[in-house]
Symmetry: C2
Subunit: 234 residues, 2 copies
DNA sequence: GCCGGACTATGACCGCGGTCATAGAACCAA
DNA sequence: TTGGTTCTATGACCGCGGTCATAGTCCGGC
């Protein structure tokens, strides 16, 4: 089943999207035009589901506008955010190759447009362009490194350090103004909303951040970096 | 730098290895012979390092005999086992493609022989055989799923459930006799040796396992499965 | 306006599991 | 044999952080 509402994206728009998209660097204009020609856009309202777990993969998804998150929902209801995708970032790189159901869900965190490519079209394109496949493997490598790094953090770091690391990552991605709620930050750090709120209060008292409803401002990026990297040289 | 000692493997042996190796299914005899022709074996003593983190990747590694582990060593000294590789299982799938340094180390857990393929040779072979690349992406997909699943377990499961899950996985891989120490199990479950020993004592009192020095025997696989999957339908 | 829901904020409680300490058993090498 | 190392075993302690409860605040919808 396909979700969202159809939305117009002309070929030039689609080409511009793929031109700068993660995983499609180094392609010629014709190759970009080829994959852009296979894509079509769909619009999602804030909070709308883009894909569900445990269903066979039918599309390759690439965010064209807005922000989407990919997350795992555990049997007991805990949600863990796996990926925040801006314009130009793909939501699923494995599924299009294997086609098999996986455990991830995706939803729009704000009004968003997501480009779709039918799985078979995507597969055919990828198999004709080894450079794309090598790009994808290297993105997957980063994903695995990132997952391993989260595992290490969960085992040996406390909540404060994990949250600081999340904020530091978000600083690089969104700049000093981060429009996320404490619950969303908690799902990124692998902890509870309460602990996140407590920790943010501490960081606020230290003058490192300011925070309001659904927003965090990084006041002292340097202190954040110091807190974050401290354990590395202790 | 290349570690281990050179060891003779004739072409037939190497071909037999790749024939059944993870990621090389569905290749013709000639293709198998081709990759086997590029490989050479090296021997490692128990405990010997196979590769170190933070060095550029120079080889693709495939276990030919014995058992090896791939692990992450955190700055503070905690070790987390990422992969146990038997005969036919590759140690590194990302590195050969990107060539960039990563965070993983590998060491032989017993006397082992590991087939090496020079990175450039491996890359050339892979780019000529898209089927291999798709296989590799699907293995990477499994690795990512497994990492995510460990993350969820670390966030919301207690040590006992994680350890049971580890034992259950090892049961599938090695059968009912598992030759690992409690420290090694701890590094798999993401906990301490002490907690592992305590938990094993509990499982022993329940009659589910028996354990001795460096060995665990699964007495009641069914109970293990029940303990392990319980939370799924609660 | 008013009301309901989402978000923030904070206190109290307490249990899991990490840390430290101690000790005995098994194994190996000299 | 002896001595050293590794592995198993278990007790005591206690702090982080999850859970539950309460309340205040902001926002959107009717």
């Amino acid at each position: 089943m396909m979700r969202g509402q159809p939305v117009d994206m002309d070929l030039a728009q689609r080409a511009d999207l793929f031109q700068h998209a993660l995983g499609f660097q180094g392609l010629s204009q014709e190759q970009i035009a080829q994959i852009a020609g296979l894509a079509f856009g769909r619009r999602f309202a804030k909070g709308e589901i883009i894909f569900e777990p445990n269903l066979p993969c039918r599309f390759f998804y690439l965010v064209a506008r807005g922000l989407a998150k990919v997350y795992i929902c555990s049997p007991s209801g805990m949600r863990l955010t796996y990926l925040l995708a801006n314009r130009g970032e793909p939501l699923n790189l494995i599924g299009p190759f294997t086609g098999t159901p996986r455990f991830l869900s995706a939803e729009a965190m704000e009004e968003a447009v997501v480009a779709h490519v039918r799985r078979q079209d995507f597969l055919r394109f990828a198999s004709q362009h080894p450079a794309v496949v090598v790009n994808i493997i290297s993105i997957l490598g980063r994903a695995i490194d990132s997952a391993n790094s989260r595992i290490v953090d969960l085992v040996e770091k406390r909540v404060e350090q994990r949250l600081v690391r999340v904020l530091f990552t978000l600083l690089a991605k969104f700049g000093t103004e981060i429009n996320l709620t404490s619950s969303e930050l908690a799902e990124l750090a692998g902890t509870t909303t309460e602990s996140t709120l407590r920790t943010m209060a501490r960081l606020r008292r230290l003058g490192i951040i300011a925070s309001g409803r659904g927003q965090v401002k990084i006041i002292q990026p340097a202190s954040l970096k110091k807190l974050h990297s401290d354990p590395l040289w202790v």
